[in-house]
Symmetry: C2
Subunit: 242 residues, 2 copies
């Protein structure tokens, strides 16, 4: 028998012994109508700051309810100081990239506008909701922030020189296929758009001291595949998979 | 300027200098209606055996057309002798796993029925079409075979002892996070269903001499994420990404 999946909810409220947590309309519908939980049943809560908490349902109404925090079941586990920078693509694949980044463990997700990026807008709130849902699903206690769309050129101009950049350039030979396990510290991974980078962008990225150009094999990967592959290489060499 | 994406088509026909390749209804619609190609225009062809060929359109009709092979533009590049075994999940994520496996480079894709697999049927033809589409997209010259749904227990009973198994067990501690780069030869990767494996399945897999239990980090990955992560670890350590 497969046990019923553990219900984990992200909330905005502070979590501590005895704290009361109100349940709004969306969560009430999910908990009390869809999952049919009742007063006395338990769920797990996390808020990205206080770890994971067991909570008991103290009120279960159609449109609202309440929970009471009982005890911490897991401490806050921060991901490594790793950012994922990616150029937004088609909606479904952009959603996937955000979901995958949250599952794989990043601190920040940054949609970037490149010379060949078509979409000039993103729905930051929708992408942030995807990151929350992925954290609920994967057992994480942290939710990476999804930033607004930033111009790659601006990002590079203001780059913090202490943060290394793993640049996944699929069009030029000469990249390494493994990272240096001693190159610890803050990192960012940059995944290109489907149309690739412009020559100017490539030249600039290759010329920067903090850039490591990494190869992701002999086939051309879609952006969402490349994101997971790059995160795997990084996490297994420099991150919390070691 | 982004160049127009190169059109690559998988065909069943033999490819050699001067060979004529008929274009059926589906490809005619795509080439001549959607992409508006005309006689004299060029496309790339591959059939999984003869590498990639440049071909010229010699006839462009509404429902049929013809191509003539000009010259080979890339040799056949076989992937490593790696299988991906996975338990089918929801339709969209199953499609993604097949797409990702073809992109990442596997020889064979095997849907397996485990104790906790819900789906007792797969559409092998649809999954095979996804593998072909992924190969067209990623620049590959090989298309992995998608097998019919096989029972995991039967597969393990008939297992070829020369083929090592990378078992991604997310529920038990003690797995390694890196593979032995000297363990070359045929391999298979096994990704579990969302509900995990049964205790019997786990015990059996852990007890087998050819099994390497691998950890994919401290968070629980969805099956499609786990597939790409496992393929990345394998390809970068033992495969053609080195």
């Amino acid at each position: 028998m497969v046990g019923r999946a553990k219900i984990r909810l992200f909330v905005d409220d502070a979590l501590a012994v005895g704290n009361s947590v109100p349940v709004g309309r969306d969560h009430s519908n999910y908990l009390f109508n869809v999952m049919r939980l009742k007063a006395g049943d338990r769920v797990s809560l996390f808020n990205g700051k206080d770890g994971e908490w067991q909570a008991e349902i103290t009120a279960a109404g159609k449109r609202q309810g309440a929970l009471r925090c009982l005890s911490q079941s897991a401490p806050l586990r921060m991901p490594p100081d790793l950012w994922l920078l990616f150029a937004p693509i088609k909606k479904a694949r952009t959603d996937f990239i955000v979901e995958k980044a949250a599952e794989m463990g990043v601190a920040r997700i940054v949609p970037v506008q490149t010379a060949f990026t078509n979409s000039e807008r993103i729905r930051q709130d929708r992408l942030q909701a995807h990151a929350i849902e992925a954290a609920e699903q994967c057992g994480g206690t942290f939710v990476p922030e999804v930033s607004e769309l930033l111009k790659l050129s601006d990002l590079l101009t203001d780059w913090d020189l202490d943060r290394r950049l793993m640049f996944c350039d699929e069009t030029r030979a000469g990249g390494v296929s493994t990272l240096d396990p001693n190159a610890t510290g803050p990192w960012a991974i940059l995944i290109g758009p489907e149309g690739g980078f412009s020559d100017d962008e490539r030249d600039r990225l290759h010329a920067m001291d903090y850039t490591t150009v990494v190869s992701l094999g002999p086939r051309i990967l879609r952006a969402d595949t490349a994101a997971v592959a790059a995160l795997t290489l990084w996490q297994s060499t420099l991150g919390d998979w070691r």
